[in-house]
């Protein structure tokens, strides 16, 4: 037990006074909740890669259609059903304009004597698929984003009011939600689309009409949890008004969960839009969305597989990216929710 103790110099046993304020010092750097979350999500490789993919897709959705000289809606029957042909890649045997004509495989661009390069090929009406794809992505994203914002808006408002005021208000509001949930979504949507002119807004409304329920339930649960927390009680004893309690105490605390949930709502909306378009209830030609493109492509799957390939890859990428970002955010913002 006593090793080398003799070697210690005597003066090291002098008594010293420690400034007691020293003990109150916090050495850690000050981090806000969001800074802390950013540090965490930065370590999540899947989420970061997904963010880059998503950013790329969003940028392309705006820039893409202008990268080629073709108009995405212009019909050019002589250029119909062209396979993809990309300069540079053609030497490697990919996207070299080879396609089946009858039973033979030949360069269709040569056969038809076309000098332009259609990067992703054309559809049966000769429209450029590259510009159509990005145009469609833009519209799909737009629909999903607007639908998600409407979901959040109604859901937060409805769930928040229901939980915050509680009692009878909560009872009535929750019974209404239960009735709404009882009706199959597809029935409501089909009815909606019969009444309304088909188009972007019809789809947005169709998606949002029941979409907010999930959000409202989550918000309700969160508000119920937080409204009896001691910091809210403390604000009440200080005389804080309802709007102050909601704005300063409740909303900032449930924001993380709202954002996480929105990250999962967006891909669901994209998928639902695609589904509606696919069953023919969606956008009408010549407008394009990922759903209509997939619908078009699937009809010619046997002869023109590229028509399905590109929009299918894109929608898959979008879904995976959004879900991975959502997962990453959930881990970063709310570590307790993991289990």
């Amino acid at each position: 037990m006593t090793n080398n103790l003799e070697k210690l110099p005597k003066d090291s046993f002098e008594r010293i006074t420690i400034d007691s304020t020293h003990a109150e010092k916090i050495t850690k750097p000050s981090l806000s909740f969001w800074q802390d979350a950013w540090l965490r999500i930065r370590k999540n490789k899947a989420a970061i890669i997904s963010m880059f993919i998503l950013a790329f897709i969003v940028i392309m959705a705006f820039v893409g259609p202008y990268m080629v000289k073709f108009d995405p809606q212009e019909v050019n029957v002589t250029h119909a059903n062209l396979p993809p042909k990309i300069p540079g890649l053609e030497k490697w045997g990919i996207a070299d304009g080879q396609g089946k004509l009858g039973t033979k495989t030949l360069d269709i661009y040569e056969v038809k004597k076309i000098d332009e390069y259609y990067w992703f090929g054309t559809d049966s009406l000769g429209r450029d698929l590259f510009s159509r794809l990005w145009m469609g992505t833009r519209i799909s994203l737009y629909i999903a984003l607007v639908a998600a914002i409407i979901d959040v808006f109604i859901g937060v408002l409805y769930g928040g009011i229901s939980a915050y005021y509680g009692g009878r208000t909560d009872d009535i509001m929750q019974r209404i939600v239960e009735v709404l949930i009882g009706i199959p979504t597809l029935v409501i949507v089909i009815l909606m689309l019969l009444v309304m002119e088909p188009g972007i807004w019809a789809i947005i409304i169709a998606i949002s009409i029941t979409g907010w329920i999930g959000m409202s339930r989550i918000v309700r649960g969160q508000v119920l949890k937080f409204k009896n927390q001691e910091f809210v009680l403390a604000a009440k004893t200080l005389g804080a008004s309802d709007s102050r309690i909601i704005g300063k105490h409740l909303l900032p605390n449930i924001m993380a969960i709202i954002i996480i949930n929105m990250m999962f709502t967006i891909p669901t909306a994209i998928f639902f839009e695609a589904f509606l378009s696919f069953i023919g209830l969606g956008l009408q030609a010549p407008a394009a969305s990922l759903g209509t493109l997939i619908n078009d492509g699937y009809k010619f799957l046997e002869y023109q597989p590229h028509m399905l390939f590109f929009p299918a890859v894109l929608i898959s990428l979008l879904m995976i990216a959004f879900n991975l970002i959502g997962d990453g955010l959930r881990d970063a913002l709310d570590p307790k929710m993991k289990d």
Binding site: T21, E24, I26, K28, S30, L31, S32, F33, Q229, E230, F231, L233, A234, A235, K236, T237, L238, G239, A240, S241, R244, K248, H249, P252, N253, M255
Partner: protein, 308 residues
């Protein structure tokens, strides 16, 4: 005797009133709090001591009874202005230092909340200055103002909660188990701080706790609650040396003390509500046995207490 600051008369707080699962959390209790004193309220979990505190400060609407603060009934006031006045005079310190501070707000904004609500400061500069002053009052410093609650330890957080309550310069503070979530070495810091503040600012405390040794230390008078009822109330010293109600006796016999010799010879007393053997026609109410020492008892018991 000192001036009565707060009179609680027949206070009742029932949850799910009239339904099958009615809970009488606070069942007809009456006591006074004098200006400048500390009244300790003890009892086991679920006895209604926290509910009493929360009802007094109007976090719950009382089912019945009156809370009279400085001659004015707190629960019958309706105008916003009057309510705000009470919010300044009466403040609360909470139990859980982790749940009582908003995790998304900076310390500066947490402490300044009362100042903002009541418009007590003009301009950012005065606000910051006042917050720094409050931080120093509770033994922290200005460097802490721009941090978030999660960066502080339990004891520091509890002191932040005290600073927040002090911001509106209250006269009366309800401390709802302020130390039970803290480590032993930190409890003493907080209790000392509360005592210092009381001397400095002439505060009145209602100190709710289940730790009897701390309550004994900080309180002038102590009330004991059992299942929604106040069973005994009296000066701290009297209550500890000569407890009358069998429940108080049982509670006192169970306090763990850091003294092995005492622990080896400890005699625990149980308490069974049936042991009173009250008859149907007996009136069980608070009766004053010695001046200031009230016990919930029947006339029969009262007589025997008097004799002893």
């Amino acid at each position: 005797m000192a001036k009565k600051l707060l009179e609680i008369k027949n206070l009742k707080q029932y949850f799910n009133e009239g339904k099958k699962n009615e809970v009488r959390a606070v069942d007809d209790i009456t006591f006074d709090i004098y200006k400048g004193e500390t009244l300790g309220l003890v009892g086991e979990s679920g006895c209604g001591k926290s509910t009493t505190g929360r009802t007094i400060i109007r976090l719950y609407n009382a089912t019945g009874g009156e809370v009279i603060y400085d001659g004015i009934d707190v629960h019958n006031k309706k105008s916003k202005k009057d309510l705000k006045m009470f919010n300044r005079k009466m403040q609360m310190i909470f139990q859980d230092p982790y749940a009582s501070l908003n995790p998304r707000m900076k310390v500066l904004d947490i402490i300044a909340e009362g100042l903002d609500i009541h418009g007590l400061v003009k301009g950012t500069k005065e606000r910051t200055a006042r917050v720094n002053e409050l931080l120093e009052t509770v033994g922290l410093n200005r460097e802490h103002a721009n941090r978030y609650p999660h960066e502080f330890s339990g004891g520091q957080r509890q002191r932040l909660g005290i600073a927040r309550a002090l911001a509106v310069e209250p006269e009366f503070i309800i401390a709802d188990e302020p130390i039970s979530a803290l480590d032993v070495s930190i409890q003493a810091q907080v209790v000392n701080l509360l005592k210092e503040l009381q001397e400095e600012k002439g505060l009145t405390y209602l100190f709710i706790a289940h730790d009897l040794s701390m309550v004994k230390y900080i309180s002038d008078r102590i009330g004991v609650m059992y299942f929604g009822k106040l069973v005994e109330i009296g000066p701290a010293e009297t209550l500890y040396t000569a407890p009358l109600h069998p429940y108080t006796q049982s509670l006192l016999s169970a306090i763990p003390l850091p003294d092995p010799n005492y622990e080896r010879n400890r005699v625990r007393k149980g308490y069974d509500p049936k042991s009173h053997k009250y008859l149907d026609d007996e009136e069980v109410t608070m009766r004053e046995v010695t001046p200031g020492h009230f016990v919930l008892c029947s006339q029969r018991e009262f007589d025997s207490f008097k004799k002893a």
